[in-house]
């Protein structure tokens, strides 16, 4: 059990509890965090769960794979610590992680 802090583009903060093993997208959707759509249901195929991880947490989330890289490259709000939420599987180490949401999903 841990907590993830989602910060919307207008700075509204949401705290969501999670069990290690679920994806950041799933946690957001389960907690009805506005600004994450997850249209493809976690297949890395739509780009609508784009999150921007804060610098200090980015290394804990692993590296994006080729498919993810391809989808991320299509979003105009791409940042250096962008990830697709469905591809970030949470671990206990991510307790307290802060992620920012883009202004729009693709």
């Amino acid at each position: 059990m841990g907590k993830i802090i989602f910060i919307e583009h207008d700075q509204t903060e949401h705290v969501a509890e999670f069990e290690a093993g679920s994806s950041v997208m799933q946690i957001a959707v389960d907690n009805a965090i506005p600004g994450i759509d997850g249209d493809c249901g976690g297949e890395c195929a739509c780009g609508t769960c784009h999150v921007i991880i804060t610098n200090e947490w980015f290394s804990k989330t692993g590296t994006p794979g080729n498919e993810e890289e391809q989808m991320l490259s299509m979003t105009p709000e791409r940042a250096s610590t962008s990830r697709l939420g469905c591809q970030v599987v949470t671990t206990d180490e991510m307790d307290g992680m802060t992620v920012h949401l883009p202004e729009f999903q693709m």
Binding site: D37, G38, D39, C40, G41, E43, C44, A45, C46, G47, E67, Q70, M71, S73, M74, P76, E103, F104, Q105, M106
Partner: protein, 474 residues
């Protein structure tokens, strides 16, 4: 002889691209038309333009699996498509039809398999076409929906700004006032055809704005698009005259080049570039010389007008048809207007305005116990995936508060996912918000007329009768 004939096949694009600096584009296309007709006279046509005559389609359960042909352009019109695709999903989810009028092709009909093919652009190429059949010979325009990475990525990113959410925020007010204007002008005392008056009109106005196209000539955009997507050889549509298509391509080339040169001149004279498509192309390093590559230039403009035309139009009409088939849902909507965004996704799922996208296998691929051979055509039937009972509960029901409506496949998945999805959703959301402000009921008073195509799932006529707000009987 065959070699010489084949030489002609690549020739048109190369010739046009090579001579574009000295010969106006529309003249080149007129020249191309003469060249292709000379080729047909000398070598005979390698691709005769098929013409489709409507015949009653047999009950799918009377057919052997191998005889099922879902490329029939009347399947949707005759209401047979549900039974045909259900049988394929259940008995042959990866199905080979070796003898269709469009040549042999594979059909992939389950949600999960379609997702796999759509995501695997390394195994399945979108080139050279995303429709089942071929365009008229010599008219192979190049568009990024039918390009693989990395070329696709470069071209898509240069134009996606025009429909990016940031731009949409600016457009919302304009869309709302136009929608209101059109709805306020509708006749209240007699039935009328919703398709030309509302669906076509609203999408035509939107296209003209995105392109900054002369507003009073916006009907041209709609007509070009209808004929491009409705070619008999490509989609089994009603347009079988190649001459008309070449003339359209020449007209488009002329209009769009004029638009391009005019923008260039205004920009050179110090005018701020607008946020329309051509200004965006001109201000991007990779596409600022696109006019010198005419087949790509026309291709990408065609893509944008076709992409924004049939799709949104038929979702605008399809929503009404759905509400009339499922009247309880309209009551639900009036009681809970906050359901509109989810309802928009459900309309797009239920209607699936484009039935499929096509791919070509780049290598042998095992899928669903079948071996798809390198070079085979593979059709991903989104219309079937959206009705797959393995994915959606009661898939044929229209349920405006369906939980997983957003998971629909109508926008495609992977790198070719629809670029205009947010604009489409915005247009539909505003349309329904404005409808609810004005009308208590919109009754479909005759059986809608559906178009002939294996690609576009649309309506040519939806006769409706409006009941203004506060005037409902009882």
């Amino acid at each position: 002889m065959p070699t010489l004939s084949r030489m002609f096949d690549d020739f048109p694009s190369r010739m046009i691209n090579a001579t574009s600096r000295v010969v106006p584009m529309h003249r080149q296309i007129q020249g191309l038309k003469l060249l292709m007709s000379a080729k047909r006279t000398i070598f005979g046509s390698s691709r005769p333009m098929p013409e489709f005559a409507e015949k009653p389609i047999p009950d799918v359960n009377t057919l052997a699996l191998e005889d099922i042909d879902v490329s029939n352009p009347f399947l949707y019109r005759q209401g047979q498509w549900r039974a045909y695709f259900k049988r394929l999903r259940d008995e042959a989810p990866v199905h080979y039809q070796k003898n269709s009028p469009f040549g042999p092709f594979w059909s992939v009909t389950r949600f999960e398999d379609i997702m796999f093919v759509d995501k695997s652009h390394d195994l399945f190429s979108a080139e050279p076409q995303i429709i089942l059949g071929d365009p008229p010979e010599g008219l192979s325009v190049e568009m990024f929906i039918a390009m693989d990475p990395p070329k696709h990525d470069v071209q898509r990113s240069s134009v996606q700004g025009v429909v990016a959410p940031k731009n949409l925020k600016e457009m919302e007010g304009l869309i709302r006032s136009r929608t209101g204007e059109v709805l306020d002008s509708l006749p209240l005392d007699k039935p009328f055809n919703w398709v030309p008056v509302v669906s076509k009109e609203l999408t035509g106005r939107m296209l003209a704005s995105l392109l900054d196209f002369p507003y009073e000539e916006r009907h041209k955009l709609v007509e070009w698009s209808d004929r491009m997507a409705g070619s008999a050889s490509a989609t089994g549509g009603e347009y079988a005259d190649e001459e008309v298509m070449f003339n359209d391509a020449a007209d488009m080339a002329w209009s769009f080049s004029r638009l391009w040169r005019d923008k260039e001149a205004r920009h050179a004279a110090g005018e701020e570039p607008g946020f329309d498509l051509i200004s965006l192309l001109q201000s991007n390093e990779d596409t600022k010389d696109l006019i010198n590559r005419p087949m790509e230039f026309i291709g990408n403009l065609t893509l944008l007008i076709v992409g924004g035309n049939d799709t949104t139009r038929n979702s605008m009409s399809g929503g009404l048809v759905a509400m009339n088939e499922f009247p309880e849902e309209f009551k639900k909507l009036k009681a809970k207007p906050e359901l509109i965004p989810n309802m928009v996704s459900e309309i797009i799922r239920w209607q699936t305005p484009l039935a499929y996208m096509r791919r070509v296998a780049k290598q042998d691929v095992e899928l669903g116990g079948q071996t798809i051979k390198k070079g085979d055509r593979v059709v991903m039937w989104y219309a079937s995936g959206n009705r797959d009972e393995r994915k959606f509960e009661n898939p044929d029901q229209f349920i405006i508060d369906r939980k997983d409506a957003r998971n629909h496949m109508s926008f495609g998945y992977g790198v070719h996912r629809c670029m205009g999805n947010r604009l489409a959703e915005l247009q539909l959301r505003i349309l329904w918000e404005e409808i609810l402000k004005r009308f208590d009921n919109i009754e479909v008073v005759e059986e809608p007329k559906r178009v002939q195509s294996n690609f576009v799932r649309g309506y040519s006529e939806v006769m409706v009768k409006l009941t203004p707000k506060g005037k409902e009987a009882g």
